[in-house]
Amino acid sequence: MFEGLWGYGHPLSNQFRRLEEEFDALFGAGTSLTGTRNIRSLPASTFPAVNVASTPQAIMVYVFAPGLDAKSFDISIQQNLLSIGGAREIPRDERATYYRHERFSGEFRRTISLPDDADPARVEAKYVNGILTITVGRRESAKPRQIEVR
């Protein structure tokens, strides 16, 4: 990723590329080091991870939040901001010896800004296999109007 900065063939550019590949191997492809950041962005390792996709009819928001009760999510839309909140409790076994504790526990909230044509009246949500899928319909756009030049 620093290649562009040093130019090809610079003796150090290969080292940086190797570093980035090792980073990916360590943290997996689920994290990103580069990429532009929206002002409301959180680090990519925030729980829960979110993906947003778009079709001409709707916007789909995928929230990767396993181990939760479907009814416990607090989903709200206001002024084109979709907010998903909740909490996950992980009971700790007092008699056990913990070697790794990487799973998130606690309260969380993620906020996504939706495009202007998102229709807050047409929102559906479902929770399957630990992914909360929120579908927000887009407003029907009027047909393009032909403008005559006189």
């Binding site: 130019g7 997996g28 993906n51």
Partner: protein
């Protein structure tokens, strides 16, 4: 000498090349690992994985867990933002010899995989009765 724009282009394609050269990179799921007197419990967050797409393999003294992510997709879908950029979870662990790999139990619910690896029966702590002589 490359212009500023050229540098940005080559940076983008350089990074893209690095990613496509590898076979699909897998996500290492966050895991909790703890030990009780009976054995080891491993809990992994693997949202989007259902039983049909989960694979646990115990070979020799290692345990490998792989799961394929599935979510609703439709044609004409365009990605706008992605924290998760791979569709494969993978992690593996070396198990010490006192663990009984032939009796591994696994439960998958709502994207959370709970694996129980018991210790070999003969190696569990046993109370020893003292006879009064």
């Amino acid at each position: 000498m490359a212009t500023q724009q050229d540098l940005t282009q080559s940076e983008k394609s350089g990074t893209a090349r690095a990613t496509t050269q590898r076979s699909e990179s897998a996500i290492r799921p966050p895991v909790d690992v703890f030990e009780t007197t009976d054995g080891i419990k491993l809990i992994a967050d693997m949202p989007g994985v259902s039983k049909e797409h989960l694979q646990l393999q115990a070979e020799g003294n290692s345990l490998t867990i792989e799961g394929k992510l599935q979510f609703d997709m439709s044609e004409q879908m365009e990605a706008l933002y992605a924290d998760v950029r791979s569709r494969l979870y993978r992690c593996s662990f070396v198990l010490s010899s006192e663990l009984d790999t032939s009796h591994i139990e696994a439960i998958l619910k709502d994207g959370v995989l709970a694996v129980r690896i018991p210790k070999r029966a003969e190696l569990r702590p046993r109370r020893i009765e003292v006879q009064s002589g």
